[in-house]
């Protein structure tokens, strides 16, 4: 490409006018000079042909058939959006109570079935009769529940009552253990003389040689809390380790 004008047109100007020439929108006065330059210039001529061929090839590209499910998918997607947008708009108009009711409706839907409703009605009726016969007034319960201060007082009273019962139970238990321990001490202090005599007898018996190799029978006496005597008998064989 050079800058020498051929037929009154430079190559840069020719290049700039390519698009208009290809689209047939070139000014009438410029067309002869453009064509003449294209025919005479060894650079612009082939370039013109290549660009024109390329454009025709692009224009000759076949129109593709969209996938068959495309329209269906678009309509499905937009209808979903429409449904959700309508739901949001409708919900925005409602108060909080109605919105809560709407959200709870699916959860409680099954319970509102006629047979369940009848069962609930029967249960309520039975409960109310039982409470009436037992002398419980619903108004008292309602007052108790409706006033937070009353409710708190009842809770505190209940807790204090339980605590007092537990404390007194453990106090009584401690007294019992103390008495038992004292009785045990008294018994111990009363028995030492009898215990020491028995030991001497045992020592004397041990000093006597056992000549027959026959098992000897020993008896051991002890006194229990209630004063009864328990005799423990056991066999001892000479040489056996106990």
């Amino acid at each position: 490409m050079n800058n020498d004008p051929k037929h009154g047109m430079e190559c840069s100007e020719f290049e700039a006018l390519l698009a208009e020439a290809l689209d047939d929108s070139l000014a009438a006065g410029k067309r002869p000079a453009f064509d003449a330059h294209g025919l005479s210039c060894e650079v612009c001529g082939p370039m013109w042909a290549e660009v024109r061929d390329g454009m025709m090839m692009v224009q000759g590209l076949a129109e593709l058939e969209p996938p068959k499910n495309l329209v269906h998918n678009i309509l499905a997607a937009t209808s979903r959006k429409e449904a959700s947008a309508e739901a949001v708009a409708e919900e925005a108009k409602l108060g909080w109570l109605e919105r809560l009711q709407r959200r709870m409706r699916p959860a409680l839907g099954g319970l509102m079935h006629s047979r369940f409703a009848m069962s609930f009605a029967m249960a309520f009726f039975s409960l109310s009769i039982t409470l009436t016969l037992a002398g419980v007034r619903v108004t008292d319960v309602a007052n108790m529940v409706s006033h937070p201060t009353t409710l708190r007082k009842n809770v505190v009273m209940g807790y204090t009552h339980v605590e007092a019962r537990v404390t007194s139970y453990y106090e009584n238990l401690r007294l019992v253990y103390q008495v038992q321990a004292r009785v045990r001490e008294l018994k111990k202090s009363a028995t030492p003389a009898a215990g020491s005599g028995g030991n001497e007898k045992q020592q004397n018996r041990k000093s006597v040689p056992n000549d027959g190799g026959r098992p000897q029978q020993y008896e051991n006496y002890s006194r229990e809390r209630d004063g009864s005597v328990i005799v423990q008998t056991y066999m001892r064989h000479q040489g056996a380790q106990i």
Binding site: M55, L64, T78
Partner: protein, 200 residues
Amino acid sequence: MEEQQTGALVRRCLAGDATAWEEIVRLHNRRIYNLCYRFTNSPDDAQDLTQDVFIRVYKTMGSYHVEKGAFTTWLTTLTRNLLVDHFRRSKQDRVTDSIDAGLREEDDSLSLGDRLEDPGPNADDRLASKETQKMVQAALARVSPDLREAVILRDLQDMDYKEIAVVLRVPEGTVKSRINRGRMELARLLSRNKRQAGNE
């Protein structure tokens, strides 16, 4: 005439007529799909983008006013914006030459029955035509995006400079320049491909 029809459909659609919306989708989905395919060179992307375009149109149809301009131009502008977004998003994993896409296009174009019944050109001609189409599409995909969109809008969508200027939001002079450069780039790529094919 078509614009008047579309204008009436838009008004009906805005009034809540579901059939009007369906009509709009049926009327324009092919053009939008082709525009997306020629730009992305991927049938899957083209399908997803076409769907996105119509969802966007559905949501923003209230902002379109008939007196502002043609519905087709507005729709093309919207499509082009989504294509630009998609181009930016997929910059990392873009593949310039998709053999798979070409094969799938080939598979999708005609069923076996259609091929047997097709009274058109013979098999060799058809194969040559398909090869040429693939080559042109591949070359188009390699043209830089700014120039490619201008060429597609002009040579495939047959829009005039003024409409393209509205869609691309650039002056008409820039549109001409881009179309010119785009065609030249495409011509260079095609002649290079031809030379390579001739050498093989």
